[in-house]
Amino acid sequence: MDHGTKNHAHVIGYGTYILVWLGLLSFTGITVAVAGMDLQFYNIAIALIIATVKAIMVMTIFMHLKFEDRVFRIFATVAILTLLIFLVLTFFDYSFAR
């Protein structure tokens, strides 16, 4: 059932890409720096939060998800929610043991 799609050309300037790239590099630096500190549980929490922010930056800007049809955003949301559930369930092991 082809509903037809509207193709909008969204041109993003090089400046935006470079800013996002610098942002990703900065977050990588913060991740490495935080890994060297002893923050107990917060080490993992901070690393995961930074990784999530970086993933959102890549998906919205580099992968153009920000400008795509709603159906693509729904599909991406399903994938992210699934990943989130996997992480939460895995941490039922790591947070309560060892």
Binding site: M1, D2, H3, V71, V78, A79, T82, I85, F86, L89, T90, F92, D93, Y94, S95, F96, A97, R98
Partner: protein
């Protein structure tokens, strides 16, 4: 020749004989026709299946008596590893979706092809490349991998066998699976014929759709995990190996996050196929269509959340143990819904015991045994006793072979006349079914008993008290293989000399039975307009068929 004559000629030329721009084998291995790709998968998988069966036969022969029988322990380790890798990654995961999904998904929804035909061909090429890599790994210096198909750390990092080629093979096969999943999900969303609403779709399509999502969402996780093992082996980076500061339990989590949903990638399409076969041969409208459809989605969802029941003995937290035990029990509900609905469809039906129906009924029987014994392992206390015993081997063979394997055989016998326009010998098909059914149960049921008594899985040697059970099991493997040879020979003979099949030999009501056998390249002369649900047997139910 007028345009009309050309059109009518092309409508009669089936996809097997249609002249394309290429000739000979190139017209097949470079074809983007979903039906040809389905048959390419069937041939490749048939070859891999034969090799996997041979390895399985050798395993059973080695275990016929304690001590060395026909091979050394190291060879035995490699043989059961290859048996697992081939059967899981090269036969049963692609199984129904790659062969029958490719061939019938577009036809069943009234489309001419899948959404991305070239991607479809690429996925077959990746499948072949992955399969060849797995085979090449056997012959490279170092010898075939001996880790089991699970590649558990730390052994898979430390063994000197060819683990990296085997891992890369599995990684490549994963990509093939992802591409197929993307194609199927998109096709179901975008290419349904006019009037083919979600709740007019055949249930096989619902199951392929649910499977497609699992393929897309879960496979990348095992892909990156296997690559990390490659990095660990090749570069000595400590990720999973405790000796390098890694965490082996994390590997098990990541491996099973994919590999348990993979079980549903294997079984869901078979469940969909059974939902096609039962109403046709019971002459009954399927009971509880929407429940079966939603149970496929529920199985895909819940089945993705139960992976750690493979790890109850590794020292997980108590919280994780009871949560995963609970989730494991929950996933049995949608599976049971399907079984109840199939049985309810049979009730008061005009049952015809044709070969596809026999395989479908055997599926219900054996899948039920596999399912119930799975519930036993979901119970934490009992799991401690049964874990890593041959009880597990019996359980998953009842689900994977007794379920999915028999589902594939049912599909072969059900759709054979549509795919090739010929009919096989039904009497021989029935005899081969009986041999396969008896052989299968004689092979695997004793392993439940041996496992319950304490026989570990994957062991080369065993105590004398297990010998009689192993002996019976090995006899079963011979009966099973005899049945398989007879079944394949019968189908090949049908392909060569079978009588001409009509376009609808079983009296089916779904779209594939409205077109000629074999189908044309375009499937439909004009795209059909769908006005009813897929299983309308009301005239039989009113007694009007006579």
């Amino acid at each position: 020749m007028s345009n009309h004559a050309l059109a009518s000629q092309s409508a009669r030329t089936d996809f097997m004989r249609a002249a394309g721009s290429r000739k000979g084998i190139l017209s097949w291995i470079l074809s983007t026709d979903h039906k040809r790709i389905g048959i390419l998968y069937m041939i490749a998988m048939g070859i891999f299946f034969a090799v996997g069966v041979l390895f399985g036969l050798l395993i059973r022969l080695e275990l016929i008596a304690p001590g060395k029988t026909i091979m050394e322990a190291q060879t035995y380790n490699s043989v059961f590893t290859l048996h697992g890798i081939i059967m899981i990654f090269l036969f049963i995961i692609p199984g129904l979706p790659a062969v029958f999904g490719n061939f019938f998904l577009p036809i069943l929804i009234g489309a001419r092809d899948v959404s991305f035909p070239r991607l479809n061909l690429l996925s077959w090429w990746l499948f072949v490349a992955g399969g060849l890599m797995a085979i090449v790994s056997v012959f490279l210096p170092g010898g075939p991998a001996d880790t089991g198909w699970t590649f558990y750390i730390p052994y898979s990092v430390r063994t000197s066998t060819n683990v990296i080629p085997a891992l890369l093979a599995a990684f490549t096969l994963g990509f093939s699976s992802i591409l197929t999943g993307i194609n199927f999900v998109t096709t179901v969303h975008r290419l349904r014929a006019p009037g083919m609403t979600w709740f007019r779709m055949p249930l096989f399509i619902w199951s392929l759709y649910a499977t497609g999502w699992v393929q897309v969402l879960a496979t990348p996780i095992v892909g990156i995990t296997l690559l990390l093992v490659v990095v660990e082996r090749a570069l000595g980076v400590g990720i999973f190996d405790p000796a390098l500061g890694g965490d082996p339990i994390l590997y098990q989590h990541l491996f099973w996050i994919y590999s348990h949903p993979a079980v549903y990638i294997m079984i869901l399409p078979a469940m969909g196929l059974i939902s096609e076969v039962i109403p046709v041969f019971a002459r009954r409208t399927i009971f509880g269509y929407s429940f079966i459809a939603f149970s496929s989605i529920a199985i895909a969802l819940l089945g993705s959340l139960v992976w750690a029941h493979h790890m109850f003995t590794v020292g997980m937290s108590d919280t994780a143990q009871w949560i995963f035990s609970l989730l494991t029990f929950l996933v049995s509900i949608p599976s049971a819904i399907k079984v109840f609905n199939w049985v309810s469809t049979l009730y008061k039906g005009s049952i015809e015991l044709e070969p596809p129906m026999l395989f479908a009924l055997a599926f219900i029987f054996q899948f039920s045994i596999g399912g119930f014994t799975g519930l036993m392992q979901g119970a934490l206390a009992l799991n401690m006793h049964l874990h890593d015993t041959s009880f597990i081997v019996a359980h998953f063979h009842y689900v994977m072979f007794g379920g999915t394997g028999f589902g594939i055989f049912a599909a072969m016998h059900y759709w054979f006349p549509k795919m090739f326009g010929k009919m096989y010998n039904k009497a021989r098909a029935n005899v081969s079914f009986i041999l396969i059914f008896i052989g299968f149960n004689v092979l695997y049921f004793p392993l439940f008993i041996a496992g319950y008594m304490g026989m570990p899985r994957r062991y080369y040697d065993y105590l004398p008290e297990f010998q009689s059970l192993h002996f019976i099991s090995t006899i079963g493997s011979w009966i099973l293989v005899l049945g398989l040879i007879m079944m394949v020979a019968n189908l090949l003979m049908g392909l060569r000399n079978g009588s001409r099949a009509s376009s609808n030999p079983w009296g089916g009501t779904t779209l594939e039975w409205t077109i000629q056998s074999p189908p044309t390249v375009e499937n439909f002369e004009t795209i059909p307009v769908v006005a009813t649900g897929p299983y309308d047997y009301s005239r039989y139910e009113r007694g009007e068929h006579a």
